[in-house]
Symmetry: C2
Subunit: 350 residues, 2 copies
């Protein structure tokens, strides 16, 4: 199909760049002998997951039971909910149904949490903290927790971590080193407790290049699209960015560019180290200096302002949150609309 | 209706607090003789707009043509699109249809922008910059722009500004003073150019208390709900917060609270002056110190941690962006579910 582009602001996927990103990471995982279990919270799209599967991906990571339901419907039969779920009656009913249809693994970082998983038909992976200091137990405590969870009746299949401190210009590759050390310690502690860590899972897009030996599975998400964070962390080049927001220049107020794309389509993410609220793909020196709900104010760094009414391509800081704000992607090839894909798992927070 | 609460995370509206907030601002506007034209991008809900109408509101502000379409369908017949729209063919078709059904006013801050509005059936308001430095012309230039736009065939009905620099603990009320001075200058310049500024429109929730004499219309949005920004700016007390995200405690990792509400339900907004990524309504000393897509990590400031599996109420930093992330509100009265309201204009960015 072809057709007219939607009204701005809209999110566009550059299909050849997306395909190249998917293929490059699949080839990397294949070379390394790593099981690639990409996190689909980034794209929330059955079409993109299918492209990943066509490149050799057999299993997916999801963030919530709701995302799991969407991708199970999409035909994926092995899902890891990479999150320390707390299962109450309503969520338990849904999780049991999901686990009766596909193979489901769920994270846990407490015995109480593990107990809520018992009887749902899922397997568990112990979550450890490898330096991000979000969720997860200390690596040396993984064995004790795994042993108690197994005693409580949960099938414990291994260990996982998210080295989120890789989102930093100074600790990106150190995070991969930390991750490797933490997973090694955790795996040893589990073996000592009599629980075999069949799955040793890590990975984030910024730290992937440094993934340590001994890690059996990687769960990057953003690599399919890349975004302004990855660009600024030097994880990708601008040519490897597959997701942009097309925006119209609505004002030249104050000698700056004002675009009709704000935090309601780009997301409001701005880590302390980021140079702005997003970048312009075709104007690498420009920076978004103010972001409101429907305005991005861009300092063009002395460059001539693109004219009123023209369209520019904005690179969101954080692809995952931008995607969650739209109903569909405009799929482009050479600037031409070739398809529209639903963001099928948009808003699936529960 | 009553029923079981949804699975966490979900957004809940406290109905009595919402009603009190709507009534208090309506009474304030009535006392002051100000036309209240609330911005409904905050709630995107026909039910809440109807409550505002029942309290005396006759006109609404919206951000996009799409929001206008939703509220026109909801029965509102006088809408201000408080944005310097750039009208191309597709948007023009929708705007003409909307303006044929209800009275539509649109902002502009350039002659080129005004020209795109001519022939669509809308009236225009000149946008001026009163200190936020986002969009809008300098106040003294309002008359020249209004004159040229009128010559080009646009009916120019007045002037508006958004004093967004009110979102600051140090300049909140100064922003109201700046706004008043800027609107006065702009109105004088328009009269000198032979364009009568029938509408002199300003207002934001933080600056509302200082609204200057001579401003005829106020456009606050967040006042219906309040949020952690308003709480930290001392615009409201915690008792006046009507919107919370109910979240489950999923982990006590590292001696902190980890909740299942992240940036995909709270939004990622964090102004530099904010004390964190959101607050807990029932634990005023607690701060969200890390926010991921599905995790909020809370430092409880020495307070005992609420137990695993318990529910806490999170106050988002920015209500408008949180609302845009969900399909519906759970409407509560005394903690009991009494209704569900659709976020009808969710995602209407174009």
């Amino acid at each position: 199909m072809t057709g007219r582009l939607p009204s701005t602001p809209f999110l566009a996927v550059d299909l050849p760049v997306l395909q190249a990103n998917i293929d490059a990471t699949a080839a990397w995982a294949d070379d390394r002998g790593i099981a690639l279990r990409p996190h689909v919270k980034t794209h929330k799209s059955s079409e993109i997951a299918r492209m990943q599967a066509d490149a050799g991906v057999a299993r997916l990571s999801v963030a919530t039971v709701g995302e799991g339901e969407v991708f199970a419907q999409g035909g994926f039969d092995e899902l890891f909910i990479a999150y320390p779920l707390w299962i109450d009656a309503a969520r338990g009913k849904r999780l049991r149904r999901l686990a009766s249809e596909v193979v489901v693994t769920v994270g846990f970082d407490s015995l109480a949490g593990a107990r809520t998983l018992v009887g749902t038909g899922v397997r568990g992976l112990v979550e450890i903290d490898s330096g991000h200091h979000r969720s997860g137990v200390a690596p040396a405590e993984a064995g004790a927790l795994a042993g108690l969870a197994a005693e409580a009746g949960l099938e414990v299949a291994g260990v996982f971590t998210f080295p989120g401190h890789s989102y930093s210009p100074t600790s990106r590759l150190q995070a991969a080193v930390d991750e490797g050390a933490a997973l090694t310690t955790a795996a040893q502690s589990m073996r000592a407790a009599g629980v075999e860590p069949g799955v040793i899972s890590g990975g984030s897009t910024p730290s992937l290049a440094g993934l340590a030996d001994g890690v059996t599975e990687a769960r990057p998400g953003v690599y399919v699209f890349n975004d302004a964070q990855q660009w600024e962390l030097q994880v990708c080049t601008p040519e490897q960015i597959a997701l942009t927001c097309h925006a119209t220049v609505v004002s030249h107020a104050g000698g700056r560019l004002v675009l009709d794309a704000g935090s309601k389509v780009l997301g409001a993410d701005r880590p302390a180290w980021a140079s702005g609220f997003g970048r312009l793909l075709d104007h690498p020196d420009a920076r978004i200096v103010i972001l409101s709900e429907h305005h991005a104010v861009v300092d063009m760094a002395g460059e001539q302002l693109p004219p009123l009414g023209s369209t520019v391509r904005v690179v969101p800081n954080h692809a995952c949150n931008a995607v969650n704000l739209v109903e569909e992607y405009a799929v482009l090839d050479g600037g031409r609309l070739v398809d529209r894909w639903a963001v099928s798992a948009r808003g699936m927070n529960a």
